[in-house]
Structures are given as C-alpha cells and as structure tokens.
Amino acid sequence: MLSIKNLQVSVEEKPILKGLNLEVKPGEIHAIMGPNGSGKSTLAHVLSGREGYSVDAGSAHYKGLNLLEMAPEIRAREGMFLAFQYPIEIPGVNNTSFLKKALNEIRKHRGEEELDAIDFLSLIKKQMKLVEMKEELLKRPVNQGFSGGEKKRNEILQMAVLNPTLAILDETDSGLDIDALRIVAGGVNKLRSADNSFVVITHYQRLLDYIIPDFVHVLSDGQIIKSGTKDLALELEERGYDWLIEEAESKD
C-alpha cells in the first residue's frame, strides 16, 4: 500500500525528515506519534503533495506508484486522503458542490460514472449520520464559520464520501473535546476494512483509545526511533517521549 524508504525532506534548506522508513499494508492502521517539531506534519504534507517541501533523498511509493512525482489531485484520485490538521475555510464555495465535484473527479479517474445531484445527496446524507453532522453545514461555504469540531467532522465526512484506500489523519484529535473525538474516531472505525489503510498522526495517546492501531511508531527528529504495538502508545502516555529519545541517542 504505502512504502516509504529513507525519506529525507527539508524546508527552506532546513532538514526535517532525516531518513524515514515506513511500510503500510492493506487493512492496517499505523499511528505515528512524536513530540512537537519531530516532523509529523511534514510527513503528512509531503505524502499529500503540498508545495514548499524539498525531497532530498529516498522514495515514497503508493500502490507501486511513485508518489513524489504525482500532482496532489492525482494522489487523491488514486485513493489517498489527507485529513487536515487545520481544515481550510473557503468562502463562496458551497460545501456540497465542492464535495460532489471532488467525488466525481475521483469517479471519472476510476472510470466510473459521475453521480448526479440526487444520488450524491442520498450518499452524503447517509455519510453525515456517521459523523453526526448537522445538515445545514452542507449548505454553507466549505468550513466557513464551522467550529473546530465541525471542521474535523467535515474532514471525516469528506473521507467517508470519497472512500479512500489510504487515509492520513494529521492530528485530527487536536482541539477536539471528548465527544467530538469519539464521533470522529467512530467515523474512522466504520470505514475500516481489509482493503483500507490509515496513518494516524497524533501527539496524544487518547485518540488511540478510540482508534486501535496495529502499529505505533515514534517519530523524533525526523526519524522513526521506535515501533511497536498499541502498548507502546500506552507506555508513552505514562512515561512521555524523553526516555525514548535518550535511548535512541545513546544507541548512536
């Protein structure tokens, strides 16, 4: 599904990712944890194709395709999805027509027929129940005037509608209260399948109480310094990151 080898990325000549390796197989959920500034969001952005990052070495392949050479929209059409840490407000662009356009672009790419307004509405209404989102938010411009929790639910709604094979959740839990967190996680869990994979990037362990990962990786200073199961997340919750970082440094 996703294969990242020795990925080295810099921003304005400052190295951020310093040789990152990650293998994600179909059906797996990987959590990437780490302290602030460890490179978590950079990883999410590079994988989704945001400008402003320079890949200095290494590779990233998705379903065998060279991800780093693909335009962001092609990555999306091939089934990748990034849930933004800070979803963007887009005044004047209606939430429903935006999502319909996005879905139909993806369907066209897959050689499927485009959905008409009626079929699309019935799909979106079904998926909205998943994230317990108010219907009026569909009529509003994308994310405009949404609360923090509504924005994150809107991300999960988009994910549910676009039905990606690989979803990257960039700190989706940040700024969420416990109820919103439960709803967002519930949405993710309902979308889990043997074919879909998730990369869940988070600073805190608490999201992983609701989304149970198969693997937990600790990112520090641009490298994965430790991988384990969900127990590793619990240990991090208890002991923090410092002991791991020290351990990693003493190995060098």
Binding site: S48, G49, R50, E51, A71, P72, E73, R75, A76, R77, F81, L82, F84, P87, I88, I90, P91, G92, V93, F98, L99, K101, A102, L103, E105, I106, H109, P141, V142, Q158, L162
Partner: protein, 440 residues
Amino acid sequence: MAHTTNNFSEWVNLQLDSDSSFAVSEAVRSPSLSKLAGGVFPTRKDEEWRYTPLGDLLDSSPGRDTTVVLDHEYIESLKQAMPSAHTIVFLNGEYSQKYSDSPTALEDSGLNISPLGQLEGTALKLAEDTILNSTLTDDNIFQHIALGLSQNGLFIEVNKNIEGQTPIHVIYISTAHGVTAFTSPVNVIRVSSNSHLKVVEQYASLGEAAVITVPASYVQLEDGAGLDYYKIGIENARTNHICNTSVRVAGSGTFRSHQYLLGSNLTRSNLEVSFTGPGAEAILRGVYLGDENQHLDVRTYLDHAHPHCSSDQHFRGILNGHSRGVFNGLVLVQEHAQKTDAQQSNKNLLLSRDARVDTKPQLEIFADDVKCAHGATVGELDSDALFYLQSRGIDKKDATLMLTRAFAAEVTQEIDIDSLQTYVQDKISASLDEIVIPSV
C-alpha cells in the same frame, strides 16, 4: 485640462450643429453645448483621469451604421437575465418598439415609463428638473456629451406607495459595422414616497467596428422610497463605455446598486450618491472582470450630507492578462452628518503578473460621532485553499476556477433576482473558463 484637438472632439463639434432631435430640451442642452464647444477633454495629467487612458476613444470619429441586423435569438439571450421583467430595448440609441414590451402592459400599474424623447408637459418638466438637480459637476465632460448629444433615453416614474411592481429591464444594444457607433442615452428614474422598484440596465454591443457608449443616468428617490438598480456591462472588446450616474436619496430612502462590468475595451463608471434627508441608506456592490488589455475603472462618490444615514460599499475586481482595474471611492461625511455609518471595501484578485489594479478608497470625515471604515486588498488566490481543493482530487485549473468564481460570488450572491444572479454568475464563469489557464 489641456485643449487638444482630436477626431472625437471634432466629431462632437460637428454634432452640435446637427438638426436631429434630441432627448432633452434646448434649455437643458445649451449649457452642455457650450461646454462641448470648448472641446476640452481630460488627459492623464488630470488627477481624476490619471489611470484611465482615453486615447482609443478620442481617436475615433463615429458614423452611423445603417445595416442593423439583429437576430431574434440574440435578443432572447439578453432577455434571459430577466425573463419576467418588463423589457425595453434601445437599438443604437433609439427606442425600439419592435423589441420592447408594449407600454400598455403597464397601464394602471402606477408606473409611468416612456422614451425621454416622447415626454411632454409635466413629465418632461419633472425629468428635466431631475437632471438639473444632479450632483454631477460642471467639469464632467462626459455628462455634457450625454446631455448635449443624446437622441433618446428612458424616463421611469413610480407613483407613491407602489410595491412589488414588475422589474424593468432596459437593454441598450449598439451595432457597429464599418464605422464607429456612438450612443449616449440619458435616463431618468424617479421613485415616489414609499414605493419600490427594480431596474436592470444592460449594455451590449455587436459588430466588428468600435463602439462608444456615454450614458448619463439621473435617479431621485423620495422619502422612504427604494430602488434596486443593476447595471450589467457585457459589451464587446471594441467598446468604450463611460457612464455617469447621479443619485439623490431622500430621508429613509434606500438605494441599492449592483454593477457588473464584464466586457468592453474600456469602461469608466462614475456613481455619485447624495443623501438629501436623514436615515437614508445606500448599498453599492460591484464586480469588474478584466482580461487582455481591458481597462475597468469604477468610481463612487458618497455624500453623507445628513445624519443617521448609512452606506455600505463592496466592490471586487478580477484581473487577468494585461488588464487594468481602477477603484476610486470617496466617502464624504459632512459636519452635521452625525451617526453616519459608512463602510467601504474593495478587494482585488490578480490572476496574472501583468495585470494591475490601482485602488484608492477615501474617507473625508467632518463629523465626530460616526462609524466609518474602509479597506482595500490586492492579492492572488489563497495557495492553502488551492491545495485543499487539489488534495480532494480537483485539478489546479478547476480549483483556480472554483476559487475565482467564489471570489466573485461573495458579491453576486447578493443579487436578489434569481434569474439575474444566475445570468451574471454564468457570464462570469464563462469568461473565467476562457481566461483561466493553469499556471503549472
């Protein structure tokens, strides 16, 4: 102003002696005629015209196109904007009975609509008083061109206490084959106390030759009256359009204006609003969309001469290619105009490196208890928003289109006539489809 001879002023001088019929009487015309006889046209050295070149216009020598051929479908496509309105068509400056709805449709409606040239008696007096009352200054040469040379125009009068009247759709079509076409319609709109009316003025041009359009419109709203006044400019790229609009709003009156400048080679729109009583309101909206070498110049002047009045202006520009936009808005709050609320915003989106905009919102406040704000921005598309759309599978060209349309929609969504909103948004989308090229 420098006195220079040019083709256009020579042509204007020839017209002064013409014996054709004119829209207004000699008494109203003559001051304008003497101004025109002086032949003084502004140049870029005049502060008011610094950004707006008149070269193309002044080089031209209009003639008369006698080969007018309009097909039915063309007229219908223009009518689409307002299918259920009462339509009045002016063709090359003349009232077209053939394409206009019959005036009998408005009998007993409380609405008096007539070509200006056909007015007589008290109605003519009323129309000319409205013109003479205008705020347009004496050095406004294009007002004098309109008044001095206009062959026709439209007079609309609404009696007292008339609500929910059929909107009026006035279409001005210029056709130019072989020679430059010239028209200068003069329009007078009067809305009596506690009445409300919607008027849409639409300007279109056809043909391979150049077109000059110099309208002057005079609007007067009595106490508590309301007017929604839309101007839609979709003329071809050989058209130079210079218009002046003077609006006087009495106490508790509401003037709502929308201008969509979506065509032409050069447009300069000057809109002056003056409050003549307390508690009046003006809401001014507009979008100008330019490509290639188009030049679009929007000027507004708001005279807060009375207390408790409010004005709210929101203009947006989208400029591509080598096009140029100008926004110049002046709000004057006079000394005794306490409790004035005046807001003014101008936002511009530049889609190419060679596009340019000059924006100058100005506030002159002489009262001390007022709420006034103004702001202007010039920018490019939000790269975060572009990426967000791309990350959902929408390619860069479509994402650019969506965001640019959305930028205009922030204004067009306030058009409260559904067919007109769709028409304007479709026009904007169609233009953007042609001009937006992905900068990948």
